[in-house]
Subunit: 244 residues, 2 copies
């Protein structure tokens, strides 16, 4: 599918280093736009639309902003090697060297090109529309997503970790501010559309810092020990009377 | 094994409702003591000794103390039905009714008798001494633990979740204040020695709010879907070229 790709003026601090562009179809009507496929979602499920943009383009960063912990969120392309530590510090006020080394490494891991981030956003949108109970896209959006990826199959989207179906309603099933669906990475160290999808929050937590391959291998080893009858003290018959 | 069981004067706010007692062997020398089996551990690994006492006897409570979130930690027996909401509020300053209902339920779930808490502490100690690279207990402690449970087998302690071995050194392998070994429950809603043991932090996180039986059943279902070839979009060959 041919995209418009005309440059857009954006509001990112990193405009001097990356060039935002229009992702509408080539020859489109109306103004150029970066996320043409999120127009309906922004109306019917604004939190989901905001989540797709945020998870696609921003680092997760620290729970709180500080010199040691780093910024809360920043554009993933801001972490690319094209921005030196000095440029980050002097022009963007991000003092990487002052941060905890583990935080530095974690931020560097989140680096991704603008192009990959934008491809992730489109892929996540295509995926969200195929969840059970998702909104029905208008025909022009359905055509756009079909042309960029493949035909939408309603209700076909699965959690990339447990491989069970995802329900669009779980985006809104937030408890204490956390949705039951999260954006997850097949390998935590790569941010591109082949590697990113939605997952149940519980599954994402269980996967932790492992790749999916490592996660499956780990849980297979657990099942193997359980099936081999390896027991821990909790199951063993043990006398524990405390006062006689 | 017969324990001394003489009452002890304690510092708990709940002394009027529970009676602390001596857990040394009946006919012991020296003063009565609540945790006779933690004397050596308190010297050689004070953080582990403190953790065993804390995890055995206290609720985990809220990350921060507030009227809505509840107290940070409190004695588990303080949550028993023998303490009415009114007594908790008037005598202990814990206003259960003012808390979020989910927090109330979580605190009530943590209720355990003094006897169960003390049996958990002794069991965890017996278990810790059997981890790989654990300190070697003096003969009188080894006899005490053997008489209360069964013979100590050095290096035999396994994670109650993944069933792989635990290394005592991982108690100290703390990053950002969190040890790599945690106290875990086979069923999250029962605090007694048959149900409590040590686990890897990652395993405990993965288990989440599930019982061990539910956790094993869940990961079996994941492996079954993976082995059946059920795939998510992340694995599917997908065209995602963004600008051409």
């Amino acid at each position: 599918m041919k995209l418009c790709a005309k440059p857009l003026a954006g509001r990112s601090k990193f405009e001097a280093y990356i060039s935002r562009s229009c992702f509408a179809a080539s020859g489109h009507d109306g103004p150029c736009v970066e996320f043409p496929y999120l127009v309906q979602m922004t109306e019917v499920a604004p939190r989901v639309a905001a989540k797709i943009i945020r998870d696609s383009t921003k680092t997760t960063g620290a729970a709180w902003k500080s010199a040691v912990a780093g910024p809360n969120r920043m554009d993933r392309w801001g972490m690319l090697p094209l921005l030196t530590d000095q440029v980050l510090k002097e022009q963007f006020g991000i003092d990487l060297v002052a941060m905890d080394p583990a935080v530095q490494a974690k931020l560097r891991e989140k680096a991704a090109t603008y192009e990959d981030c934008m491809a992730v956003a489109a892929k996540l949108t295509w995926t969200a529309y195929q969840m059970r109970n998702a909104p029905v896209p208008p025909a022009n959006l359905s055509d756009y997503l079909t042309n960029r990826f493949s035909r939408l199959e309603s209700g076909s989207t699965r959690c990339i970790i447990c491989r069970d179906y995802l329900d669009f309603g779980d985006f809104e099933g937030a408890r204490r501010g956390r949705a039951l669906i999260e954006t997850a990475h097949s390998s935590p160290r790569a941010h591109n559309p082949d590697n990113v999808g939605f997952a149940h929050r519980d599954c994402n937590i269980a996967q932790g810092g492992r790749s999916l391959a490592e996660f499956y291998s780990w849980i297979r080893s657990i099942i193997a020990r359980v099936d081999d009858g390896v027991s821990s003290d909790v199951e063993a018959p043990v006398s524990h009377n405390s006062t006689s």
